[in-house]
């Protein structure tokens, strides 16, 4: 009798075929699965502005003069910058930017004080992670005004001539990853995660709840099926739908908005799989709690809202209060957004995304364990 306990490919395939037929018949849902990504893509093409402060920054201080330090104090006092580390080389600074550890690297070059006193208008270089222009733009514009006023007290008396109209210092901003400071570059990769979250959680929760609500689940389980065949058979078609959505967004993003795709697409699609699994697990869990399809939709939206607001999609993550950032850190979307933006815009490799990747994996494992446990209980 043991052999009936084995996973049956035929029964699993029966589920998959049935799901596809049902998907095709349900025109509205099918239209939504294709329509939502496109609609959101166009709607969110416009950015949402905000004014985030205390952005983590690194300092590369190659000059020991007092003016350099005064300038740094002034920059920190503006409230936009929060110095979290000092780097020794430009490469080290670039790496911190790529990993998303810091938003800015402020580079005070050698002989800064000397050149300043000579009246040579020395340059300070600000390298910014401009992936999300909403985060960086206000901070950068504050710098411009700051530089003309910061050294006013020092440049008194004989040095008065230096605080002229053009300012004593030359500010050079280097917007990395998104040189044209194009908001679509940030929104389009973000949409990838948002649309996947919405489809995967809602559609899975609905699909399983529908079977139970219409009584067909009871029928299914009276047949010699394993619960896992039913579950996996139902889920596979939606994973496929998820990838169709990914393709839609990437193609539309590339041709409509010219979003660059620097990193490896293979890596992106692999990471996407883990993200899809995490969201499907949530969908399954919801379906075991919800008594009917209406509740399933409500729960999906309940989950969807913090995902949109706290993941760094709608608002700049660094502009949120600490408690909101803490909630955001739990959500897989937050990490997925960082990974997608990293891969597409910064050309990040596996080593750069692994920090966020394991957090998605952890979430997926917990959600799967919980979902599987709940799913078993509903049979009895």
């Amino acid at each position: 009798m043991k052999r009936w306990h084995k996973f049956s490919l035929a029964r699993f395939w029966a589920m998959v075929v049935k799901e596809f037929i049902q998907m095709r018949r349900d025109r509205l849902t099918f239209g939504m699965m294709v329509g939502i990504p496109l609609l959101q893509l166009i709607l969110f093409g416009y950015a949402i502005n905000s004014d985030p402060k205390q952005l983590p920054s690194a300092v590369l201080l190659a000059d020991n003069g007092p003016e350099g330090r005064t300038l740094l104090y002034a920059i920190q006092n503006s409230g936009y910058f929060h110095f979290v580390r000092q780097v020794k080389t430009e490469t080290e600074g670039r790496e911190a930017l790529a990993r998303g550890e810091v938003q800015f690297v402020i580079n005070i070059p050698e002989n800064f004080s000397r050149d300043l006193l000579r009246g040579d208008r020395p340059a300070i270089l600000v390298e910014a992670d401009a992936t999300d222009p909403g985060t960086t733009s206000n901070a950068i514009s504050s710098l411009t005004t700051l530089l003309t006023t910061a050294l006013q007290n020092d440049l008194k008396g004989p040095l008065d001539f230096l605080s002229g109209t053009s300012g004593p210092i030359d500010l050079r901003v280097h917007a990395l990853y998104n040189p044209e400071v194009n908001t679509q570059y940030n929104i389009v990769p973000g949409l990838l995660g948002v649309v996947l979250t919405m489809t995967m959680v809602m559609i899975t929760a609905l699909a399983i709840t529908r079977e139970r609500e219409s009584g067909t689940m009871e029928n299914l389980l009276s047949m010699p099926t394993r619960p896992v065949e039913v579950l996996v058979g139902k889920i596979i078609p939606y994973i496929l739908v998820g990838y169709v959505q990914v393709a839609l967004i990437l193609i539309a993003g590339h041709f409509l908005f010219g979003v660059p795709m620097i990193g490896s697409l293979t890596l992106l699609l692999t990471v996407t799989f883990l993200f899809i699994v995490a969201n499907l697990a949530i969908g399954v869990t919801f379906s075991t709690i919800a008594e009917n399809q209406r509740q399933a939709i409500q729960m999906a939206f309940f989950f969807f809202l913090p995902n949109i607001l706290l993941s760094g999609f709608a608002f700049s993550f660094r502009g949120m209060p600490d408690w909101a950032q803490m909630i955001g850190e739990i959500l897989p979307l937050t990490h997925f957004l960082r990974i997608v933006r990293g891969i597409l815009l910064k050309g990040n490799g596996l080593a750069d995304v692994v920090v966020d990747l394991w957090q998605i994996a952890l979430f997926a494992i917990i959600a799967l364990a919980f979902g599987a446990k709940r799913y078993r209980q509903t049979l009895d």
Binding site: M1, W4, H5, S8, A10, R11, W13, A14, V17, K18, I21, Q22, R25, D26, S214, G215, T216, E218, N219, L220, L221, S222, M223, P224, T225, L379, D380
Partner: protein, 308 residues
């Protein structure tokens, strides 16, 4: 019909938290027999059926179903049992053909295509096989469900109120089909509320408030209850019924068309009690106790028994 038992279970019990849905129920059904499973809503019929086909795990109980252990071999039982749920539980957004094909795939049936087309033909729905199940009438849906339950050639069919919401002609056809299949050796356990359907069964089992009240053939059940029934017709039957019900010897007085059925357990006492009412106005005659009389009697007795 042979003496071999298709269902032979003892002490089947299922609890949901504090509620006992099925309380130590024994049931024996021979192969090829149609067993009517009677009881009011919420009495535990559906729960019992679900335990038989392995949808629910029994908390207590033992026995066999089609020769397999009912507790440990539910997978093997599932392969030989067809279960038709109370509500239509196939896919409304699949066509007739697709529904049958899906079931055939689920049971890994050999020669799937032939079996499915044969089933469609037997249904008499060959021209409409591409129609969505949603568009079928109640009677046709029920026939589709029955056909789907038969796809994998089961030996036992568990039908949970199969004829709810089906018109009389379709119901009669349905029962003829059941009897034909039983003639071929299929065993049936059919939950129902309808007394006329109960009379079409070989065997009956009454269940009330999770407990088995009685079981046996119709003749056995009638004999066991020893209920005497009189039929009376004449003017003002409603008023007469009111007065008769007040008599302690009369257990029930219920209208059946233009007559009144008056029943009691003790034949002699009942006859004495109704004597004053046997005037020329009314026509009294002794009648056979119907299943409904017996059913109501058993329920009243169970209620009286539990309250005392």
């Amino acid at each position: 019909m042979t003496d071999e038992l298709a269902i032979d279970v003892h002490g089947m019990t299922k609890r949901f938290g504090k509620l006992t849905a099925v309380n130590h129920i024994d049931l024996q059904v021979r192969k090829g027999e149609i067993c009517g499973f009677l009881g009011p809503n919420g009495s535990g019929k559906t729960t019992f059926i679900r335990m038989l086909c392995g949808l629910l795990r029994a908390d207590e109980g033992s026995g066999s179903c089609l020769g397999h252990n009912v507790i440990t071999e539910s997978e093997a039982i599932k392969r030989q049992v067809g279960y038709m749920t109370q509500r239509f539980s196939f896919y409304e957004d699949l066509t007739i053909y697709e529904n049958l094909d899906f079931v055939a795939r689920m049971y890994s049936t050999k020669n799937r295509r032939e079996i499915v087309s044969a089933s469609v033909e037997r249904l008499g729905l060959k021209e409409r096989q591409r129609q969505l199940a949603r568009e079928l009438s109640g009677g046709w849906k029920q026939r589709l469900a029955l056909a789907a339950c038969l796809i994998h050639d089961p030996k036992l069919l568990l039908l949970d109120e199969p004829t709810a919401g089906v018109d009389p002609q379709a119901r009669r056809d349905f029962w003829e089909e059941i009897h034909r299949l039983a003639g071929q050796g299929l065993t049936f356990l059919i939950a129902t509320h309808y007394m006329d359907e109960a009379e079409r069964c070989h065997r009956l089992a009454f269940i009330l408030n999770s407990n088995m009240l009685t079981q046996g053939t119709i003749a056995e059940v009638t004999r066991q209850t020893r209920l005497t029934t009189w039929s009376v017709s004449g003017p003002n039957l409603v008023e007469l019924a009111e007065r008769l019900r007040r008599l302690p010897e009369v257990e029930q007085a219920a209208a059946f068309g233009s007559a009144l059925h008056v029943s009691g357990v003790d034949a002699a006492q009942l006859e004495k009690a109704i004597d004053p009412y046997r005037t020329d106005e009314y026509k009294w005659s002794q009648a056979e106790s119907g299943l409904e009389d017996i059913f109501i009697h058993l329920m009243a007795k169970a209620k009286g028994g539990s309250s005392s």
